[in-house]
Symmetry: C3
Subunit: 342 residues, 3 copies
């Protein structure tokens, strides 16, 4: 425990010689586990955990306590410590198909039944798992992790330390047609490409379409959850994270450090500013200024939306109240005219 | 027909010697087909069907009629009878990649270009189709059916009689990051696993994320449609079914026998009780008591929601009515003050 | 440029001898590029482009201008001219698995690790990329393009000139169960098939379920974006296009030339008429007449919806106004009764 405390730069209280062999959540942690506690953790104290990470300044609640600035980060570090990445494949499988013009740097691992097309370049230390397909002229940086079933279409540019999860599709054709009367839609060739910056993570079964011409761009540190759809010619700024099942329509620009909940839809050809936060299922129908927190379809500021939603829940009552007012007024006017006629 | 009637424990009226060779829907059934009729079937009688399954107590409408308690179940049984499962692969393909430490029980079938990692265990009679990828230390029960393109990540636990459709991804990393000011998001390692109970069915391109620590759990008989997203640390009770494109956020608990329509979104860290029913596109933003039927975003009871939606459709009229009231009141007050001044 | 003008049947103004070697968007086009300009293009004139496609009758804005009836179509033609399709695989890979009973016509290309099941038929000139899986008794027409990771289940019927993108799943089981009290859901076998007409395009990770019995049908020229879900027994008319993440529930019929934005949900067993247009995130809860433009959940005509949404944004204010009216009326009535009592 003492070693862990040093590593985390944590203030340790309790017995420094407790032996820690694993990481668990607060509820299930046992005497040889480390876990973390926050004010929002359901209070099932006392925990049986061998040690508990808390925020600096938290009360003394546990036998062994590690006080740190950012408990979540310390917890992540413990997970990294006890669960270092174990590569899934050794070397280059003889059952992979690799075009002779492809260049693989040192330490690249390729699983069986993967294919790597002509003129591809794979950076040092990257893992290409079984059944990954990489089309021609794609460049992948160093220390990337491409999981089984992912497909990367031709001409893609992937940075360093990128993780692409199972079944993700990078660089499929954008959705563009010319519609003429009395004819079936006419496909517009999609001849651009996708570029993904360093430290991005692309969720399982997520799709990022290639641009019509030019580039569909994810800057460094963009995090996409599963089943996200990124249309052609979209640009996304650094550090932005989009939760599962979000869809960004073509040619839209998303700023830096944007956070979206699940199932958010964003219209085409608009701009969403830096640090915008959108609640789940928001429908963003027009451009949004930097720093706004929004919700609803069409989107509103979350404060307006909350007030309006409270009102919406009682809309039927409101109709009743208006009806009552109308009746009262009618009665009143009838009385008045009676008086007048009197 | 007589044999079928016996098998279905049905009350047969009409000619028991009619020869039945297939199953069809009501509209397309011919003289050698069996089909079923319900009160909701568009009434295009007389049907040309050789035999019609009806609910016990239904009127005599067809030449050959089989009266049963649950016509849908009898129809399913007929489909099973006339379309028994035909395995897609014989034995273990020499073109599959199977780690020597993997254990395959008797009668397992594996298609070409499938991979089965170290320490995996596949139960008797399970079919692993072409191009399925199973990562290390995954246990799969007996009589499972894993379709092409599905990927199962390391340490997963899959029960017996489970069906996993094409492109489904079991055990991809949950979506968890620590966000610090002025830095790119820092990934929290996802070191837990996914457990799936007996008789579950997982739709095409559906994703079930592994937990951060601990387990993401589907109990027995959970049915997920296509493109469903299950976040990390979610628990789902037995018999629950979620329609296509539903998304369940992390650490949420869904009860037993819950039914959700398509595109429902569920917030994180909440609890949805047993037998809850949610209409399509519902946004479940907080915990829901057992037995409720809900709709809307944020969710409401379906009765409230229907009343409010009727009102919403005439909201613009309501604004007009309030405006009229305000005008009437203003006029009235003006008159009053005139009178007073007189 | 002169040659291009002839090919596009365009009216050329400026120097016909300019050499054009590429196609670019308006912003990035250089002196040897052709691009197009529309009244909606953000006006960053003068463009450095070598030539600009404009609509016939547009003002003379650029050195070299090609005036045509439909600029988008002319632009698509230029992309086709400068970026002709380059096949990804030569001949039939010895590393593909092809059942001896499958029939491949002339000029079919098959990548490594693809599988083609018994009794399949692949038409002349079709490309089956690496890692595509085609189950038994599937017929694919001529000049189709099936990208890596796509899976086509047994008995499918695919027309000519069809494009199926990476990870798409054609013919997975429909989502159908019988629910009985106190029991897990009982699966209804899905024994029908999927038929896809000529010139259809199926997006990445899109799913089209096979029918229970009979057919799930896409007529000619249907265009599906990524991550679309088509339920069992759905029928879609010619020329219809559905944007990303739309979901069509079972047994619904969609007409011809329908256009849906992203994330639209459509209920089961309903009918959506020809030429209906639905805005993103619309929830179509009942049948829609031909030619309507709709939005909202539940759907309304777009005009009604817009009026109601404007009202909804000020709903909280409206509640305040009703409250004020109630107060005014109460005061008034109090005064009146005072007068009366006087």
């Amino acid at each position: 425990l003492h070693e862990i405390a040093t590593l985390l730069n944590a203030e340790l209280s309790g017995n420094p010689d407790v032996s820690i062999t694993g990481v668990q959540d607060f509820e299930h942690a046992g005497p040889s586990d480390i876990t973390f506690w926050a004010r929002t953790t359901p209070a099932k104290t006392p925990s049986r955990a061998g040690a508990v990470i808390v925020k600096r300044g938290a009360p003394a609640l546990f036998a062994q306590q590690l006080a740190v600035e950012v408990p979540h980060l310390a917890f992540a570090r413990c997970l990294e410590l006890f669960h270092p990445h174990r590569p899934h494949w050794c070397g280059i499988s003889p059952q992979a198909w690799i075009d002779p013009t492809a260049h693989l740097e040192e330490g690249v691992r390729v699983g069986p039944f993967a294919t790597i097309g002509p003129d591809c370049h794979i950076g040092a230390g990257s893992e290409i798992h079984a059944g990954v397909h990489i089309y021609r002229n794609t460049h992948i940086g160093t220390h990337c992790l491409i999981y089984s079933g992912a497909v990367i279409r031709e001409d893609s540019r992937i940075g360093n330390h990128v993780i692409i999860h199972c079944g993700a599709v990078i660089g499929a054709d954008g959705f563009g047609y010319v519609r003429l009367p009395q004819q079936l839609p006419h496909k517009i060739p999609q001849v651009g490409y996708v570029a993904i910056g360093d430290h991005c993570e692309i969720g399982a079964n997520t799709c990022i379409d290639r641009s019509t011409v030019g580039v569909t761009l994810l800057e460094a540190g963009v995090k996409l959850d599963n089943q996200v759809q990124i249309g052609h010619n979209v640009k996304i700024g650094p550090g932005t994270s989009l939760s599962a099942q979000c869809g960004i329509s073509g040619s839209t620009t998303i700023g830096a450090d944007v956070i979206m909940g699940g199932q958010v839809g964003v219209a085409d050809h608009i701009s969403v500013g830096d640090r915008v936060m959108a609640a789940g299922q928001t429908g963003i129908t027009g451009s949004v200024e930097a720093g706004k927190t929004i919700s609803g379809t069409p989107h509103q500021s979350i404060l307006e939306w909350r007030r309006n939603m409270v009102a919406l829940r009682h809309l039927d009552d409101l109709v009743g109240r208006v009806k009552a007012l109308e009746a009262a007024l009618a009665t009143h006017q009838a009385n008045e005219s009676e008086k007048t006629s009197v």
